[in-house]
Assembly symmetry: C2
Homo-oligomer: 195 residues x 2
């Protein structure tokens, strides 16, 4: 008793990732079983192993995809040369991007400790690349005399934590529209660094 109708390989693969993303985000990697994911996909657990070598790789791929996409989208972003406008654009981009992907954000920040050491190192490298992009903006602003921050690295971590936090409380259709939230956060980020 196998599949009833036609070939499903190109359907089941994405569905697996999508189901895993939703379940990991809601209940956490360790609390979700392959059987639960399989049930969500509408398949037996064994069939999942046609699309992922194991559960750990499934988690790693989700996180890597998220960070790769984050870095690629940032790179494609037109960032003004002026440090102030540049930081405003970065902050606006960061908030909007994260509000659009609450599940991915949740996983990327909560499941780091469930990665094997090698996978963890790979993800941390990507994340560091992203942080460095912000840190460079701050350093330029300091050099240009328009930002006043005692420590660029600390300010980077503080801003990213603040901006990312938006996705923890924001709910679609809530009191404030997405654009307004991004705008206010960008404004706070600028002020925080003394712009």
């Amino acid at each position: 008793m196998a599949r009833k109708t036609g070939s499903h390989a190109d359907i089941t693969g994405p569905r697996l990732r999508s189901a895993a993303r939703a379940l990991f985000a809601r209940h956490g990697y360790a609390a979700v079983s392959m059987r639960q994911i399989a049930a969500e996909v509408g398949v037996q657990a064994g069939a999942l192993y046609l699309y992922t070598p194991d559960k750990q790789t499934l988690l790693f791929d989700l996180m890597k995809e998220h960070l790769d996409d984050l870095l690629a989208t940032l790179a494609a972003q037109p960032l003004p040369a002026d440090p102030r406008a540049r930081l405003a654009a970065f902050a606006h981009f960061h908030v909007a991007y994260h509000l659009d992907r609450p599940a991915e954000v949740f996983i990327a920040y909560m499941e780091l400790r469930n990665l094997t050491p090698e996978n963890f190192a790979a993800i941390e490298r990507l994340r560091h690349r992203y942080e460095d992009a912000l840190q460079a903006i701050l350093a330029e602003g300091v050099a240009a005399g328009v930002f006043r921050v005692p420590d660029a690295r600390l300010a980077t971590m503080a801003l990213i934590a603040m901006l990312t936090g938006a996705s923890q409380w924001y709910r679609e259709g809530g009191r404030l529209p997405r654009e307004t939230v991004a705008e206010i956060y960008a404004e706070m980020a600028l002020r925080a660094v003394g712009a």
Copy 2:
């Protein structure tokens, strides 16, 4: 073959909580077994049930203790009347408190989804009480005309995320001393709200 030397009830209880706190923070609630905790305590798994009714209550008690202590310590804090000085004192307190308790902070923010609905509601109530304390400071500052924030609730969430984030990267004996970190974060918080 039971205990070898004397009575241990007043020792094993705290040791259970301490071991659970450390293991939950490192590996996550769902990934830690009662047997692992028992091994850390130096006891068989069954013995733990003399000190906690179940694993869920163990997690809940750790989180409730943390938030109760946070609220009590905040209440005992002498906060100046001037909104600017008041916010600076709050921010400084928050960062210092969180840098001192990285394990508790990690658990309180990462394991919310592993609480039963009733326990979750109870913890959220406590957390909301704390957030309201900050929001009140911001509202006073806005009323006094010294803070400029479009939305006090949003600013509250943004500041708490930023300040709490310090405990994610801060390491004892690192580049910056604890006091300096708290000072810089407090300064950034003040500027973020336009003070």
